[in-house]
Subunit: 453 residues, 4 copies
Amino acid sequence: MNSSFFGDMLQTIADRGRALLAGRNRRVSGEARTATLIERCEDLLSGRGEASGTALAREILIDFQRLKTGERVGFFEALSNVFGPDREALRAACEDYAREPTEAAASAVHEAAEPRRQELVRRLNLAPGATAALVAMREQLLDSLPLRPDLAGVDYDFVHLLSSWFNRGFLVLRRIDWSSPANVLEKIIRYEAVHEISDWDDLRARIDSPDRRCYAFFHPAMTDEPLIFVEVALTREIPDAIAPILSRERTLLDPREATTATFYSISNTQRGLTGVTFGSFLIKQVVEEISRELPNLSTFVTLSPVPGFMRWLAAERATDSPAIEPGDREALAHLDSAGWQNDPRKVEELRAVLGSLAAYYFLSARTKHDRPVDPVARFHLGNGARLERIDLMADLSEKAITQSAGTMVNYQYVLADIEKNHEAYAEAGEVVASNGVKRMLRPEKARALAAQP
Amino acid sequence: MNSSFFGDMLQTIADRGRALLAGRNRRVSGEARTATLIERCEDLLSGRGEASGTALAREILIDFQRLKTGERVGFFEALSNVFGPDREALRAACEDYAREPTEAAASAVHEAAEPRRQELVRRLNLAPGATAALVAMREQLLDSLPLRPDLAGVDYDFVHLLSSWFNRGFLVLRRIDWSSPANVLEKIIRYEAVHEISDWDDLRARIDSPDRRCYAFFHPAMTDEPLIFVEVALTREIPDAIAPILSRERTLLDPREATTATFYSISNTQRGLTGVTFGSFLIKQVVEEISRELPNLSTFVTLSPVPGFMRWLAAERATDSPAIEPGDREALAHLDSAGWQNDPRKVEELRAVLGSLAAYYFLSARTKHDRPVDPVARFHLGNGARLERIDLMADLSEKAITQSAGTMVNYQYVLADIEKNHEAYAEAGEVVASNGVKRMLRPEKARALAAQP
Amino acid sequence: MNSSFFGDMLQTIADRGRALLAGRNRRVSGEARTATLIERCEDLLSGRGEASGTALAREILIDFQRLKTGERVGFFEALSNVFGPDREALRAACEDYAREPTEAAASAVHEAAEPRRQELVRRLNLAPGATAALVAMREQLLDSLPLRPDLAGVDYDFVHLLSSWFNRGFLVLRRIDWSSPANVLEKIIRYEAVHEISDWDDLRARIDSPDRRCYAFFHPAMTDEPLIFVEVALTREIPDAIAPILSRERTLLDPREATTATFYSISNTQRGLTGVTFGSFLIKQVVEEISRELPNLSTFVTLSPVPGFMRWLAAERATDSPAIEPGDREALAHLDSAGWQNDPRKVEELRAVLGSLAAYYFLSARTKHDRPVDPVARFHLGNGARLERIDLMADLSEKAITQSAGTMVNYQYVLADIEKNHEAYAEAGEVVASNGVKRMLRPEKARALAAQP
Amino acid sequence: MNSSFFGDMLQTIADRGRALLAGRNRRVSGEARTATLIERCEDLLSGRGEASGTALAREILIDFQRLKTGERVGFFEALSNVFGPDREALRAACEDYAREPTEAAASAVHEAAEPRRQELVRRLNLAPGATAALVAMREQLLDSLPLRPDLAGVDYDFVHLLSSWFNRGFLVLRRIDWSSPANVLEKIIRYEAVHEISDWDDLRARIDSPDRRCYAFFHPAMTDEPLIFVEVALTREIPDAIAPILSRERTLLDPREATTATFYSISNTQRGLTGVTFGSFLIKQVVEEISRELPNLSTFVTLSPVPGFMRWLAAERATDSPAIEPGDREALAHLDSAGWQNDPRKVEELRAVLGSLAAYYFLSARTKHDRPVDPVARFHLGNGARLERIDLMADLSEKAITQSAGTMVNYQYVLADIEKNHEAYAEAGEVVASNGVKRMLRPEKARALAAQP
């Protein structure tokens, strides 16, 4: 993205801004750059910004891109320290409010508490291509956060502004297919996070068959950047394994004969938008879109990974966990021998055990916040889906064997139940699951679960 | 806009939302409506909003449109009282900050001080067509404000959000011409605020000649609503009257022979966006755009009204103002006789006097904030233009005779001077004017002006 | 169209062709112009055309536009005489074929018989905007034909080429609505030939209601010129009068509740394309399009004028026609008194008579080619529609009273019967009509009709 | 293309045509298919075609695609025999013309001589996607021609119609870059005929650099099929070798600093359009387009292969040709040892000889039609370019070594000279060449050349 943004920038400067930028000596010493940048940010917030804001914002964003890592952190520090709220004004507003807590006083506090960097970022967005540049800037901020937790306030403000700008109401759903622009498609290849796309032929197999669909959200200010995309397979049954879906040799299905739409991959593309969520909107809107096109579709499910299963199981095996029956441990030991998935006997023995453990993992295991352990489960259950089926040995890729011993699951979206399911989950942490999944639980565990308040 | 929004809404509901909306009795009594609406707003802010936010937001916006005036004010009241900040949390955050004014404490204050209605409005924006509906809602809020100053806090939040959403970086400049969609053109007819467009033929004369241009800013979420537009005449000289520009009988000019682009009308279309400014960006971007297309253009000026001149002059005449020389009053008395503009002798006598008074009005008269009295002057000078020329008897329409005795002015935009001019104005209130304008000032006034600090 | 074409031309020349056209003295005497033009046409057909054909074609088309009427006829004469086939070659080819009628000899005859003007027109089409210019040229040729029947061969070649270029496979169906470009809409206003559109408000009432549709065919080389358009009303019954459809006060119908699509106006826009037919394709494709959008539609009819009825009736009345019963003549005499349509008694008496006469006009009256007398009937019956209903007093406009005593008819398109109906009509001249229409025929006429072979 | 066409077809049938096609038994025996197809073609030409032509045309085209090779030839045979002109009518028309050779009689001959297959192909074009299908059909006809010269008349008619439909006036120039649709880009990869594109990365290097351009002509009825495309390198000098242009490691040039546009590859994509030429238009229009964008460009050249050089030279060497000096033969013998291009000494010796021989090949060698031997030379010289420079050892690829011993040439397009050059070439076969090229000729050859009439 940087490169494309940079291309745009250079082009744009060339076209429009030359005169404005001329005469500035750009070969300043490394140390001086951050200082200069901060000065210009002050200019942008001042009157100069009103007169020639666009050119100034452009300059700042380009110069920021040229900073080295350390200099960038220096710039973020300045955002934190120099572009915070006016402390004196804030203290006064707080005191006023303490004295008389009126609407107006609350408003005054809110205004005084707004860090100056918010307005700064709004003005930086004046430049052409700036939105993408600011998302990239936030990505670099995220890189710094682990070592510099003191920059959390800056990040908070980025998330605040980006959430407002990337409001669902401004996003545009577009179908991605073989007639989409190459610069969009290459990002699908690059960003696919669930089931890797190896090259253009692989991509084509995914999006250019009559029984496959791909949709993405776009923001009008970043028209060649898909923000999140979902890949869909049209099938006649709920699939229980990923290989037949990804296979290039499969028999094509006439889409009008499909009954089931399977969402088998959802990927966010912009790390700089972490914390700004649109996944749930995407699934629901694609369900609407695809139903209109193909009225015969009646079932909408995912085929999802279970990324936390093995990590959780390892922890349970390491302790005297009630989740694991004494008799299970022998079979589970197979997991420790590399290549077990190629040994039919081991697979057979594990199947019996893994099914009930996976059911336990989803239905009974809990985080300290009393939520399911699996992050993907939290996402779909939070969206109002229900856990429809557990598919053992469904993904034999290296990654899936390691993460989940090959286990995948289907979450089902039933429009009429979404709200109810969501509320059950949101209010009581309840995992809405099919009877099939519940029956996989060993009887005594099922009883224990039923006995929970 | 409402009607088009409504059309969209009805269509969309029909298509998508039927099931979700079914079963609700929509024939509630008038009094109950506001209450129900507020309830749904609470739903939208709660978990329900996360599961089926789009449908809920749509419902609320449609129901709001159906409210009668009184009910609407009731709804705004609720936004003010019920959807303000959490007062308890805010008090606590303020106390924390008072105790220890850290970055984090300031952040906490800011978060606690944010009224819940901001998040509510963000979520309302989920619905298709919502952005236009929210702009319309704010227009109705503006209608209530004069009688209900207590709703100012609600308005503040609308402006805050709309400013963020309508950031210049998201606006798209589009040329308006005879191949533009009719639903856009009808808005140009409707919203032209400076020199009325009487019908489609009149519109065509304005936008479909080779020596005329019209540009507008659009927001991606309101694609058939121009937000602000400017009309441009390409000429060979700086024009000193409006009639030749508007005349349908004028000789057409080959645009490649034009040297001057005259901005003779700028109109905002969305009253609901009052306070969100993009006029200055529009002019500058059109200058860039049009220069690229027609490299021969070297002069960029406005032909602008002087809306405050007669009001100011009446006030001066009513007092013993130093602005008016004793000898002027006889000529000025002509202004009180209707139709003076048709009497060549009166016009002649007034010309001598009005010129120097207009120069005084621009260069010496000041508001209590030490700024020029004329609002249009404040706009262009604040943008970095300079006052190039005063044109007497330049607009003989009823409106202009009343407002300015027919006076118009040219503000000139010289790209290289914009920043400097802006700073002179912003910092010292200085009115950058041509020597020609300065010379219109009577010598003693000019001396007085020069002597000012 | 000329003006827009001219605009394009001038623009294009300005942009591209200046150098190529420079140095030519364009102020030649009127008489010399045609000669010069013909010379350039020879150039275009020669080598020069291959090297710089585009510029040359442009020149010729522009110069043609500047010719005066007489000069144009001179140019068409040249097309006829100078740009015919090579007579010597044709004679030789004919002799060869007479000697030995092989495939190859036939091919050689065809090649030799092709007038040089066909290749000339193909090369003229190289210029930007040329297709529209050539359609306009043919329009002017049509104007000359009545006085100059010797130009028929030139017209034959124009039709041949235009039919090939405006092949249905190249036309694009587009919906026309209030978001269509103004330069397209103004042509709808201008070209509506059946029920006049008085102004933009009138247009809007026709195309911007949820229960109205308008579709047009466009050619990719003339993107702002609708070639033919049809106006459709969505209703719940087959309409029997035009006024309720055109009324601006009617109650709007939710399109999803409509069962019937009524084609109430079809207009060709390009007189220069006379003889190139696409009306039948338009109706059928709109039926498909609109059915997809609104699956509830089950009935597709026209509400059509009967332009030949009164002319035919006058002729019958002037003779001792068997079509007219002796008792009818008294009532028919009312038609001769202006304003009869406002006298309820006269209307009443005429109704009884006109119905059976109209049925006779459609079912029994015949041209010398044994086809129905009414041209609109020939069009729709030839397309495979059937005559569904005769509507008396259905159009009270001046024009309709004069043409048809206010009579209109509904032709119905039933997809499953189109082919069968067409064949019945094409092979046997059979008028497929509903029983209702047949019953309007007086018994003895009906018997006579049934007795026909 | 077939596959995409088929996709469209299947889709379209599904959408629209189902009912019409139902009930037909499609499992007919192989032998019966051609017969059935011909029957339907007769239907299409008859009344049935007028009523339901679109569906019928669609059927025929799909069924044709399903024919096996032999059956296809059978179909072409039928086009030749069954759908020729009406022989009786043609004989009569010829006789009439022989008797009295009037305009009208010539017209009648032309009409009678038109084979019925022309109208058939025009009607086949009614179906959606038909234009591409007909181009594909003609490609298959071309495959049959070598064995079946009797089908030449059918081919003649295809060329006639396709030339009319693909008239330059209907083609659209579009820039191809990294934001072009993938289904267009894959065709660039597939069809590049001069310098192979190995994969998507290679493609990107060619079209997504600021100093590279690619343009193609499209037809509105085949929007995802480039018909012909040209690749352009922006440089500061006329390049004398291809490797630096294709290198992915080259330094990028700011396009605004380029002075020269080099057309280094032109490829036709549609074999089915062989004989319909647009290459010359493409180059000229790209020159215009690119000049507008980059006014600094002053030189427009090609870097072209010399495909016939070695074949010609081999023939000369085999005889006692005056082109070859006795002393040359030793050096020329190097060409017979594989890998000579890697031996600096051999290269050195060859250089001295190949240069003058290449000059002879271009300037003196002639076909029996008195034209240059090299087909690429004939193309560019016929377009009005001049032979600017001979570049030895300019392309070291296997193919180029074989075809031309690595020789390439630059043809230069000077807008002001195009017409003059074209005429010199067209009328006298003159090869317009730079002095540099002429000087490469050995003195005595040059004298001989100069002495030619």
